[in-house]
Symmetry: D2
Subunit: 337 residues, 4 copies
């Protein structure tokens, strides 16, 4: 290992922790110093694969020598505490979304860390997807003139297990939040939120008082209209699309298949393969690019994007969507963050 | 001419009147008996082309011998009167949308014609587009399981002239009304309407107190969520798309180009031609199929679809959208028709 | 009928005759004066539909008053005689391909009609397809720089009946001839022909000593390389594609579906409908445009394109392909016409 | 490093050597023991990056302890010697194509190594591309019925430098050879080769007596017809496509873009990004899968595919194509290997 590699502690060895562990291990500028998870068995297995050590508590992880940053992929209710503990120790932070399910808690956290000088980055991975990133850049460059409408379709292949869903904070805070951040990636200044939820297929989700299907309409400060269409299931794969429509044209991001094969037969033509199944496949490159941006922030000290404020803003929108879906009224979010 | 052709009087020789005139003239089961328009010059020119006669008043048209039906393509404010006059004379009616801009007027008309036995058909031409019709049929056949979400994108290439717009009743009654009917084509029983309007590019439209950009969310009685995205301009052509998403899959209708050419060069690949410019091109086949359905109704006496009730329902939804966009609240439309 | 319509006699009331009859009847500048076919029953039925008269012999047709031109859609072995008889009478000619299956006969015909001043047009309808015509025009305009390669794929949905095939002159003269003309549409000066035939699926065709599958490679005088891929069957519809590749890019013509529907399900995504089944659907617009070009030639007296010489050239190439497929050697066709 | 990793010596640190070095270093079952290249500076730089050692001669590489296999990415004229030296030492071999430019040399090599029991694999990477591999598998599974035609288009983005080209053996042995192997991947038993070359744009290539543009037609033993279309340049990226056409349908492999973005504007719609520029990007996954197949062969001792015989067969076809392009005659290659 070359000495200039930044040493990273990883919290969490679950599905997303595994993604980060492998990416950190493979990154030329980073070194995976330790993986912490109270479920030590999982942490140890992942540590063996990525040639590092596993510990059972955050304290043991923070005790590791020469740490430069942390990646937080542990359960949501540990995020605030780990963010604050990391910042206290002067460690750069990459934290999975959401910061917390409770906006008041997030605001208190913000106040406590307000003077921090280390980079704090939020894990809105989709901003780093080659497609979304390219369209954002081209929109900024004026390729479609003034941005007038944004259409986001986002469907998971199937619902998460009931146990996960019951602690998720509801579809808007758990799933839509990614799309709300994507909306803010293009239109940072959202002034109004209107949301609709529906129960179309899952008895489990209905019993939890949550929705399996949702539509959100956002208005930007220049009158831009944004729609988000969500479903918790989709038989043809992970449906992740966006259209940015403007005065001079449109740019779209389509779904991704594992190969470029098309089939032609007696029942139809040009049939493509199924879309990549879920976020691990679809956003594989995005997670690597996200980590690379984090490494750059550590190295340069520059403020990362998306940052803590973006995480809070997305939560404000998710809360407003939850309220709007219940009340049937649009929610004004001007100055709400 | 064979004697069994049904004789049709056409009201209106404008853009849409011309479409109908040519289609009636070319239809093997119909005969264009007369074209009526106070702007007699236009009517005469069209009559010469379609080998029929032109008159300047409805009365003269109704005086023609052996009429079987009428096609009403005159200005909106003449529709109710012409519908009633035609029905009085026992003539089948194909009337362009909307029936009227005022819902109360439409309801009074409905009451007056309630006992009529002749076919009354509304000109929601898109229901007859090969793409939309095929998807509707496949959804009905269960190809995508239960229909859960419907996503409609509908953009005009450019705004109509200010004179037209000022009498149009606003974007929801003039433009969105087609999409509202398309929503009802798939989900007849709509229970809630939420709408947002915005002024993104047209100073003319802003001055008229109208929107150039809109988004509408509808909820069906089974919880189906429907979004409609509208714009009064679109540089790449007439943008007319639909996605029907269900528990077992999705069916989409895409835009149509005039040819199947793709271009590949140093700045990009697979570039298709512009989409067909506007409704005359895009719905050419739909207008012919619509007329054919009307001819069938005349011949068989069967109730046409879409009928008067569909025209009224679309107006109810357009009114609700107008109200919702102004109030910021969802409008309950259960039992509103 | 307006007096300035050019009066056309149609020979043949079979599949292609029906296409022409309907198009002539619907053309504003043409009048279908008579349909001639020894199979008088078919001719009469078609005449009733298109509101003209039927006769059983060419002589009776030529006797019609005020003829301006003829459309020849009768069997191949009648073409030369009808061309010559029409020219003698000063009538413009639109003749279906091929002029004749025997090149010597074609050359004699050419010599006999060499002084004729009336327009003689060959029915290579594909040149008038919106896609092929557009690509040709863009290639001429320099959109892809110098044209270097042309890739033509052309597959029929299923073989013609054995009776038709046995008199067809073989796949190169009957089917490939359209693609050979398409090649000449882009690269008029072909210098070398290499062909391969194969029997892949049809016992009937094998017994006739013909091929059901073929590949032809042509070389243009500037070294352009052209490939034609043919099959007499194709389960997914009429496969009609072209790619023009040049120093600065590529233009392609794709297949055409009846609608713009795509299906997404558990076994695949983006499945389009079957391609339009055969030439009557696929080249519907092309036949109308072809007829329109013929009408223009009659009106202006300008030489039509494609002309007699193009019909002869395509036959020269088809003969060379037949020879090459048998000999395994490339055939030099420089100066062969 | 875990002890069960197979130790690999890599010959060559050029463009392809770098691909293999990184893939070997990242492979969980392989260990990059040494990189050998007389150009020691390049080897050292690559060795530093991949955390191994560099040597200047094959002998030093073979002296490394505990080698299990070699990957040969050095210049073509060293292949035979390195293959034989490796086999003598009982090392498994993965050798880049071609084995040699001279078929007699290849045959002598074959005779000398005929008793070898170690795996010998040829680097026809495209067989491992997800798209080509999937189509091959589906064709084998009968998805398109009997395979009748294969259409391969293969264009490089730009010509290699003159120095490279002058030693390349000509377009058929250097470039087409990959397509010839792809043809054999689907139709192993080729009986006839016909080829055409042309000089369309490169004065350099013309001066070298080589072609910049080529078309090859192959015939399989069951009459399958295969066409290969090649160009040494292509402004829109690396053009790598295949269509497998059969009695029951068709499967195609299309080009690959770096993202799924489409652009719509006033000059066209649905424009995709440029295709991935060249083989390093396009076949990135294929090189990794190829290496994985090699690792499996080492572990299991199973004969790898493609093997030495496949490398020889492709060269036989390339030689035949070279001969056919010169003579204008088809070349019979039955029993030629």
């Amino acid at each position: 290992m070359s000495p200039e590699r930044h040493r990273i502690a990883l919290f969490g060895s679950g599905r997303i922790g595994q993604v980060h562990a492998r990416n950190i291990a493979a990154h030329p500028g980073l070194e995976l110093a330790v993986i912490a998870d109270p479920f030590l068995e999982g942490a140890s297995k992942l540590a063996a694969e990525t040639e590092t050590v596993a510990v059972g508590s955050p304290e043991e992880a923070f005790d590791m020598e020469g740490l430069d940053g942390v990646v937080i992929g542990s359960p949501t209710n540990t995020h605030v505490q780990l963010i604050e503990a990391s910042i206290e120790r002067g460690l750069a932070v990459l934290c999975e979304k959401p910061i917390d399910l409770d906006l008041a808690t997030v605001r208190e956290c913000r106040d406590r860390i307000s003077g921090a000088s280390v980079p704090i980055m939020l894990g809105f991975n989709r901003r780093f997807d080659p497609g979304f990133a390219s369209v954002r850049q081209r929109v900024e460059a004026g390729d479609i003139g003034a941005l007038e409408q944004l259409t986001i379709v986002s469907r998971d292949p199937e619902p998460a297990p009931r146990g996960y869903l019951s602690a998720s904070g509801g579809i808007f805070r758990d799933m839509t939040i990614h799309d709300l951040d994507m909306a803010r990636f293009f239109v940072p200044d959202i002034v109004e939120v209107t949301a609709h939820g529906s129960n179309q297929f899952s008895e489990d989700i209905r019993e939890l008082g949550d929705y399996d299907t949702a539509v959100v309409t956002l208005r930007g400060s220049r009158g831009e209209l944004i729609t988000i269409t969500n479903s918790r299931h989709c038989v043809f794969g992970y449906d992740q699309r966006l259209e940015a429509f403007g005065s001079g044209g449109m740019l779209s991001v389509g779904n991704v298949t594992a190969d470029s094969v098309r089939a032609y037969g007696a029942s139809g033509t040009e049939q493509a393969s199924l879309y990549q199944h879920f976020f691990l496949e679809r956003y594989n490159a995005a997670y690597r690019a996200e980590l690379d941006a984090f490494a750059t922030s550590i190295r340069t000290g520059a403020a990362p994007s998306p940052g803590f404020q973006d995480g809070m803003a997305a939560l404000v929108l998710a809360d407003a969507a939850t309220e709007s879906a219940a009340s049937g009224k649009s929610v004004d979010v001007q100055g709400a963050w």
